[in-house]
């Protein structure tokens, strides 16, 4: 894995070299055409034969054909390289993201990570393709043309190239202004962006306070300064852009004036004059493009710097060298575990210790924010844990092969994230593919089968925009099926039935108990009704273990659990679900 653009370009150096060579050939043939023109015109002025005309005409067509052939090859070689480089970077980038732990995703927004893979990578690609091609082209054309011009007439060359440096300075100064202008345009644009974002997000407040008029006024003001900035740029463009045309004109002007004089003085032929003018025109575009290419290089350097910063993040959760594939049975021991998400942040878990035997059904309960989710995230090693704090089957979790560990765990998280795939594909996510019988079996456990059978394409029904929209409860039940299809030895459910009604929930839990015999079951829940029958209940409060015991033991003594139980009884009387 590399992170500098040079490293990514290196494997394609032969391609770049070939591209350079092809560009030399391309330009050699391109520059041949005006030379033929020179002979043709001079001959026409003196005397010319029919055969000679045919020769000139076919030389022009032939040279262009060969030039076109090489042009085709050079573009193919150089431009495709840039896409190969983009492919490599993108592949490495995603591969790297896959290895980064959850703490990374807590700190980095998805949008920003995607923006790197699209906008920033595009700058890098443009530089390594169009940018490199243009630089090479400019270099070749300028060198060759300059030599040809000198061969035609030294005096004319010097005089006609005279305005170039002045104009270059002028353009450079103005492009600095334009660049600055674009930056303010960008700033104004992002102000408009922010405005719309906040307006739409806060639309209820705005409506409630009849604030729409002042909102529109404010928006108008922002759009107006955006307009003003854009018009400033328009004026700058209006000054600089016609220069390109004028530059060509000035070249012709000097050729006509000085060159015409030279012809009159007999020091130059008309053919040479025409060829000179043609060569001068060929110099124009590469010179103009140079400025653009240079900004492209600058921009891609910044962009690659941003991408590299992601590559520089070391995956802090990785297998140690001797971590081997092992079967995991599901004994879990936690010893004096303390945890905070960042070194500066306060502790989310404090000296947590308890033990779960394989095959046990354990519930974790406690108020919101007590650290329950953090605890089970650590059992799945989603965050970095200190050594010798969590043991699975007697082994330190950090010494267990990550893949074996996670494949032995069936995890049903709180958030019901599903992929835009078929419902079958989502259930079989952990195993890749599954037979219809398997899918049916596991959909039945989570009480989802009946719903699926109502869908037009059963398990092949697409979810999301392209297909059906699942209700919150259906989504949760899909994630449960997904969590058990690989028959894990440890099943972890994080408040995974909050959107399912009580009767269905009971049915699911009892089916899980029946079908997953031998598996350790850890369930985070807010509901007494769900956890009453569990082998053991761990009560977590403010990051600490308050109590561990069976339902009967816990209601026998004062504490959080007993309070929860009292609340549960009232809810039951009111015929209401327990709230989190």
């Amino acid at each position: 894995m590399g992170n500098s653009i040079k490293q990514y370009m290196k494997p394609y150096l032969p391609r770049y070299a070939a591209g350079f060579f092809l560009l030399i050939l391309t330009n050699a043939f391109a520059l041949f055409v005006p030379w033929v023109l020179k002979y043709a015109i001079d001959d026409l002025r003196e005397e010319v034969t029919h055969q000679k005309l045919v020769l000139y005409a076919s030389a022009i067509v032939g040279a262009t054909f060969v030039q076109g052939f090489f042009r085709f090859l050079s573009r193919q070689t150089l431009l495709k390289s840039s896409h190969m480089i983009q492919f490599d970077i993108l592949n490495d980038y995603f591969g790297h993201l896959l290895r980064l732990p959850m703490s990374f995703y807590d700190k980095n927004k998805t949008g920003d990570l995607i923006s790197l893979a699209t906008n920033d990578l595009k700058s890098v690609r443009m530089m390594s393709g169009v940018g490199v091609m243009n630089i090479m082209n400019t270099l070749i054309i300028v060198t060759l043309t300059f030599l040809l011009l000198l061969m035609l007439n030294v005096k004319l060359t010097v005089l006609s190239l005279l305005p170039f440096p002045f104009i270059a300075i002028f353009v450079k100064r103005y492009s600095a202004l334009i660049h600055k202008g674009y930056k303010s345009v960008q700033e104004e644009f992002s102000k408009i962006n922010t405005k719309v974002h906040e307006n739409v997000s806060g639309i209820r407040v705005i409506k409630a306070y009849t604030g729409h008029e002042s909102e529109i006024n404010d928006f108008e003001e922002r759009c107006e300064s955006y307009l003003t900035q854009n018009m400033r740029i328009a004026k700058l463009w209006g000054t600089v852009f016609p220069l390109i045309g004028a530059l060509a004109g000035i070249g012709t002007l000097i050729v006509l004036w000085v060159g015409g004089g030279e012809v009159i003085g007999g020091r130059l032929t008309i053919g040479e004059l025409v060829a000179f003018n043609a060569y001068l025109a060929m110099l124009l575009w590469p010179m103009i493009a140079l400025g653009w290419v240079l900004t492209l290089f600058q921009r891609s350097k910044v962009a690659m710097g941003r991408i590299s910063r992601i590559f520089d993040v070391e995956p802090e959760i990785a297998d140690i060298d001797d971590a081997s594939d092992t079967e995991i049975f599901g004994d879990i021991k936690i010893e004096d575990l303390s945890f905070s998400y960042t070194p500066e942040a306060s502790l989310v878990l404090k000296d947590v210790s308890f033990e779960i035997k394989r095959g046990e059904k354990v519930a974790i309960v406690g108020p919101t924010g007590a650290g329950k989710t953090t605890l089970i995230n650590l059992i799945a090693r989603l965050y970095k844990v200190d050594d010798a704090k969590i043991f699975i089957d007697g082994k330190d979790i950090n010494s267990i092969n990550l893949k074996s560990l996670r494949q032995s765990i069936g995890f049903v998280p709180q958030e019901t994230f599903l992929f835009s795939d078929t419902i079958g594909g989502n259930i079989a996510f952990g195993v890749g593919t599954a037979s219809k019988e398997e899918l049916e079996k596991y959909a039945k456990i989570s009480d989802l089968l009946e719903n699926i059978e109502e869908f037009p394409l059963n398990f092949d029904t697409y979810l999301g925009e392209r297909g059906v929209n699942l209700s919150g409860g259906q989504k949760q039940r899909t994630t449960i099926s997904r969590g058990i299809i690989h028959n894990p030895n440890i099943l972890i459910l994080d408040d995974a039935t909050s959107n399912v009604d009580v009767i269905t929930e009971e049915r699911i839990v009892s089916r899980l108990e029946r079908e997953m015999t031998g598996s350790t079951l850890i369930m985070v829940s807010h509901r007494i009704a769900t956890v009453m029958s569990f082998d053991r209940i761990v009560v977590i409060k403010e990051g600490m273990v308050e109590a561990v015991g069976t339902h009967d033991e816990l209601i026998g003594r004062p504490g959080t659990y007993k309070e929860m139980y009292k609340r549960y009884l009232i809810y039951k009387e009111l015929d209401l679900r327990e709230e989190g």
Binding site: I41, L44, R45, V48, L53, V54, S58, V61, A63, T64, Q67, G68, F72, L79, K80, H83, F87, N91, F94, L98, M102, Y105, L113, S115, F189, V196, V200, R204, V205, I206, A208, T210, I216, F219, L227, G238, P242, G245, A246, L253, L256, G260, I264, L273, A281, L382, K403, Q407, I409, P413, S420, F429, G430, G432, H486, E563, R567, I570, L574, L576
Partner: protein, 596 residues
């Protein structure tokens, strides 16, 4: 971040006359500037054709005759032409930009104003990001169409046409020979246009696929890692990435073929001129200067053709964007009645629900046959478990939604018969999650409304006990808050929103108390500020705090979409019914931060 990641549809209509007409309407107010831009566009294009003709004259009349003085005259004339060309180009660029920028400015403001009038239910269905893209990026694409695309296509076509006419005029036989390649040129361009449209569509599709794959897998990274599917996901991504690369390869190949082909046609044309022109020259039917001019013109002719296809792509994306923009502009606005002379009147503040039933979707009723009457100046509290329907009542009194059954009356009149502005000016709503806009404290309190003095704001803040906090900030009321500013605590946000209400001075106060726990001191301030807010107002409090409940005249108990009990705290408590139980649930032990 500017670009949207997932294009909603990659299917693009090439040209839609209805859309095009609507777009033209946007520039209609700038007719004068359009005409100026167009006149100068014609002038620029024509002036750029003068150069080769001057070369012809110079060669035939002066250089051939060794007339240096004449040559200098031509050169001076040419200087004039260049200057004029420069000026006309400047004016053209300025005015095309002017028209594009101005019309897009109006369209953008129009769209934004339209969004302000959309019903709340629209925002329930459409994510913020989508609405945002319409106002920003989609209009930006249209802007590009105006400033770069359409106008330059006109300029290019005009120049092509001008060259054809000029050559025919110079020597029609030779011109016909030169243009004998035109049918082939048209054929190749059309064929490539088709290929390029296809590959352009393809690249967009594949780009969207890469983006949505990344979006989905980064969002679901936890799942990917939990299920140890990293290598599988990486393999899938490689496939998509490969397709993405290949889509671009096709485009590259298409352009790599197209450019040289155009060049080849150009030089065939020049070769024909050399050959036939040479024969004509021998027969003295053509001058050398004219031949040179011919060659120069043909060179100019083939350059813009290369770029026509690229401009065609701009046209395509603009069509797709305008379709989305107009779809939003066509979305139905909130039903409203116009303001009248008496709309300025303040309500007395009597609110009555008569047999009201309401559902957000289809027939999932959240409120069932609700009836109650709140007298002007009365203070009531709504209590009930989550999902009992309390918040829906706020939405209905604000007329954010239409009810399915029954009647809501304010001061004895149907709520929907009031202009929304009058209604909402009389209501002061504090939502549970206080929304803080990026901006200064002052802007957040006044919500950018003009005519509110700093003194008024200070008084309001004083009354809501938020001034102590604000005075401690380095820039006081000018302190930035929100996304890029200081972070406010939940309690500070609430107090700030109380100040908003006081400034607004509504007849009816609707307060959805926040459930978030705050420190005891702030809690105390919130209680006192709530008292101030309720003074001389009809007040509806969705209560989570015991203290507020004890200060109200009546408590309405909501249960599963119905009102089951009404009375004072003492009465209801003594009843030992739903309220009693809810009270036990909400106020015992668990909410230990609340002091009784």
């Amino acid at each position: 971040m500017r670009k949207r990641f997932i294009e909603e549809d990659t299917h693009i209509k090439t040209y839609d006359s209805k859309l095009a007409r609507r777009l033209l309407q946007e520039i209609a107010p700038y007719r004068r500037q359009v005409i100026i831009a167009f006149v100068f566009l014609v002038m620029t294009s024509l002036l750029s054709l003068v150069g080769p003709y001057l070369i012809k004259v110079a060669i035939d009349e002066y250089i051939a005759n060794n007339d240096m003085a004449g040559l200098i005259n031509i050169v001076i004339f040419f200087v004039g032409v260049l200057l004029l060309q420069y000026i006309t180009a400047y004016i053209r660029i300025y005015y095309t930009q002017y028209v594009g920028q101005k019309s897009m400015y109006s369209l953008r403001v129009k769209l934004f104003s339209h969004i302000q009038k959309l019903p709340v239910s629209f925002f329930d269905r459409n994510p913020v990001g989508r609405v945002m893209t319409r106002v920003t990026n989609d209009i930006e694409v249209l802007n590009e169409l105006f400033s770069a695309g359409v106008i330059t296509i006109f300029g290019d076509l005009l120049m092509l046409f001008g060259i054809i006419v000029l050559l025919l005029f110079l020597n029609y036989k030779l011109a016909l020979v030169a243009f004998s390649v035109l049918p082939l040129l048209v054929f190749i361009t059309l064929a490539f246009r088709k290929i390029m449209r296809e590959s352009y569509r393809n690249t967009r599709e594949k780009t969207a696929k890469v983006n949505s794959f990344l979006q989905e897998n980064i969002t679901g990274m936890k799942i990917v890692q939990l299920f140890a599917r990293e290598s599988n996901r990486h393999k899938n991504f490689t496939t998509i990435n490969e397709e993405y690369k290949n889509a671009f390869f096709k485009t590259i190949t298409a352009y790599s073929l197209f450019f040289p082909m155009i060049e080849l046609l150009g030089s065939i044309s020049i070769a024909l001129i050399i050959y036939y022109g040479g024969i004509q020259l021998l027969g003295e039917k053509l001058t050398l200067g004219a031949l040179v001019a011919f060659v120069e013109y043909l060179r100019k002719f083939f350059v813009p053709i290369r770029y026509l296809t690229e401009k065609y792509n701009i046209l395509q994306s603009a069509m797709a964007s305008s379709e989305r923009v107009y779809k939003l502009l066509d979305a139905a606005t909130e039903e409203d009645v116009p303001m009248t002379a008496e709309s300025g009147q303040r309500f007395r503040g009597e609110i009555e629900f008569k047999d009201v039933s309401f559902a957000y979707v289809d027939d999932e009723y959240v409120l069932k046959n609700i009836s109650f009457k709140i007298n002007a100046g009365e203070r009531v509290a709504f209590v009930g478990a989550t999902g009992a329907g309390k918040t829906s009542i706020i939405n209905l009194i604000s007329a954010f939604y239409k009810i399915q059954k029954g009647e809501i009356l304010i001061d004895g009149r149907d709520i929907y018969s009031y202009p929304k502005e009058q209604l909402r000016k009389n209501l002061g709503v504090v939502l549970q999650d206080v929304f803080i806009f990026s901006g200064t404290i002052l802007e957040n309190i006044t919500l950018n409304k003009k005519g509110i003095s700093l003194e008024q704001v200070e008084r309001a803040c004083n009354n809501t006990y938020v001034c102590d906090f604000i005075e401690k900030l380095p820039k006081r009321y000018g302190e930035l808050v929100g996304e890029r500013g200081a972070v406010l605590s939940a309690g500070q946000r609430q107090l700030l929103s109380f100040a908003r209400v006081l400034i607004y001075n509504p007849t009816v106060l609707i307060l959805d108390e926040a459930t978030s726990t705050v420190d005891p001191h702030t809690e105390y301030l919130i209680q006192k500020a709530t008292e101030k807010l309720m003074e001389k107002r009809t007040s509806i409090i969705i209560a989570h705090r015991l203290s507020t409940i004890q200060n109200v005249d009546r408590i309405f108990v909501f249960h599963k979409g119905c009102i089951v009990e009404i009375g004072t705290h003492e009465e209801l408590y003594a009843q030992k019914g739903v309220y009693y139980k809810l009270h036990q649930l909400q106020y015992k032990n668990f909410t230990s931060d609340v002091k009784e």
